[in-house]
């Protein structure tokens, strides 16, 4: 079993060797080479998280948005610190078109307090030019009036859908 798996995962190497064998035509002898070659997809986090930085609340409700382009701090809030959008890398077959979907929103909680954030993926369709592609996920945080202090946590789903 594990041999088969390794053989399948080493597909690129096998492709190269099988193709090499076909290209070099032997005059005196022939041999069949067979391998089960599977197309693969990988999804990696590139190490950056969706980070809204530090926010000091105001008396009125406001929003903070973060995308790959940077941060936009709503009226009445004070924002500081570095921000980042979560980044993902996808590899697969060259020229493959995949669709990217994320949860529309996420609820962040800290004890009994909560707030919501809208989640936005930078693309809905990704073309793997040369077999690689990347996208990032930003968000719009809805900060309530006099939002309670605390450490808010939440999680959201990001899915790469193959056709």
């Amino acid at each position: 079993m594990s041999k088969f798996i390794k053989a399948a995962l080493a597909s690129s190497v096998l492709v190269a060797s099988v193709m090499g064998a076909t290209a070099a035509r032997a005059d005196t002898a022939t041999a069949d080479a067979r391998a089960n070659i599977l197309q693969q997809v990988t999804v990696n986090s590139d190490g950056t998280a969706l980070d809204f930085g530090t926010i000091v609340t105001g008396t009125a409700a406001s929003t903070v948005s973060v995308s790959a382009g940077g941060r936009s701090c709503g009226a009445g809030l004070v924002c500081s610190g570095a921000t980042s959008a979560a980044g993902f890398d996808v590899t697969g077959t060259a020229g493959e078109t995949v669709s990217v979907a994320s949860d529309p929103s996420v609820t962040l909680t800290s004890g009994t307090n909560s707030m919501t954030a809208n989640i936005v993926a930078s693309v809905s369709t990704l073309t793997l030019t040369g077999g690689v592609g990347s996208f990032n996920v930003g968000g719009l945080l809805n900060v309530g009036a006099n939002q309670a202090d605390g450490a808010y946590e939440g999680s959201f789903n990001v899915t790469v859908n193959y056709n």
Binding site: G95, A101, S155, N157
Partner: protein, 280 residues
């Protein structure tokens, strides 16, 4: 050693650890827990024979993955939209009921592949047709340790954990099914992200079509552009295909061109549809 000295040492150690973590992250940015590899990227089952899908942990830490059956519907612009249990129709429920797979949860050390076995059990009197589910592979995030949850003195901090994964279609074809497709209305479109070549891809019949789009120009041997993994699922009879094109290719996409839709090489590579058009 005094308690204060111990505290200082602890702070220092934490500082060093976080510094080390930061350094590791810069060195290997593409290896967070939960990274995954899935092969193949599409499964078509004809009849009762099952198959295997391989899941590999390509991250640097041990991770637990959950494998589940999800429903998706294609939209008019070709995206796959999530379908909840309540929204699902009879065909989708039947598809979900006939797929058997195991294991459904697996913990893998780095670089450890695991085969997920897939099988079909079609119920008696199943109507001919194409049944489809999407197999979702997703890492379960680790629980945060209590020490990470430090509450700040003022303002608030936010920890948002992405749970990311990949879905691949599992298609069961029951009966003798046919489908044809047609290409029309090729056009160049421009939006904020740049130029794209778009066209309408219509489908008729009782199964999906899947393959690659090859755009050729008369006089050129090689295709100007190839896009793989283009599907039209049975729930839509027509979708738009919009392919982002870099400027150097966009410049070539004018005048007479030919847009062809081929089956993928695994399915035989036959021509499904072809249309000659003039782009202005």
């Amino acid at each position: 050693m005094t308690i204060q000295a111990l505290r200082a040492l602890k702070t220092c150690c934490i500082g060093l650890t976080s510094l080390a973590t930061a350094m590791t992250m810069t060195l290997t940015p593409a290896q967070a827990a939960g990274d995954l590899l899935v092969a193949p990227t599409r499964v078509v089952l004809d009849g009762d024979r099952g198959t295997e899908v391989i899941l590999n942990n390509i991250g640097s830490e041990t991770a637990t993955y959950r494998i589940s059956l999800e429903l998706r519907r294609m939209t008019a612009d070709g995206r796959l939209e999530e379908v909840s249990e309540e929204q699902s129709n009879q065909i989708e429920q039947a598809a979900k009921a006939m797929i058997r797979y195991a294991p459904r949860r697996v913990t893998l050390p780095p670089n450890q592949p695991q085969a997920i076995r897939l099988g079909v059990r079609a119920p008696e009197g199943l109507a001919d047709g194409e049944y489809r589910v999407h197999l979702l592979f997703r890492a379960i995030p680790e629980a945060r340790s209590v020490t990470d949850q430090t509450v700040p003195d003022g303002g608030f901090t936010i920890a948002l954990t992405p749970i990311y994964g990949v879905t691949i279609p599992i298609i069961v074809r029951y009966g003798n099914l046919q489908a044809t497709a047609a290409i029309a209305n090729g056009r160049m479109e421009t939006d904020a992200e740049g130029q794209s070549f778009a066209f309408d891809l219509s489908r008729s019949g009782d199964r999906s079509t899947y393959g690659e789009i090859r755009i050729t120009k008369p006089g050129l041997d090689e295709p100007v552009m190839v896009a793989r993994g283009i599907a039209v699922y049975p729930e839509v009879t027509k979708r738009t295909v919009s392919l982002p094109v870099p400027p150097e290719i966009a410049a070539q996409l004018s005048g007479p061109i030919s847009v062809a839709y081929y089956e993928s090489a695994n399915d035989g590579g036959a021509l499904i549809a072809k249309s000659d058009m003039i782009i202005r």
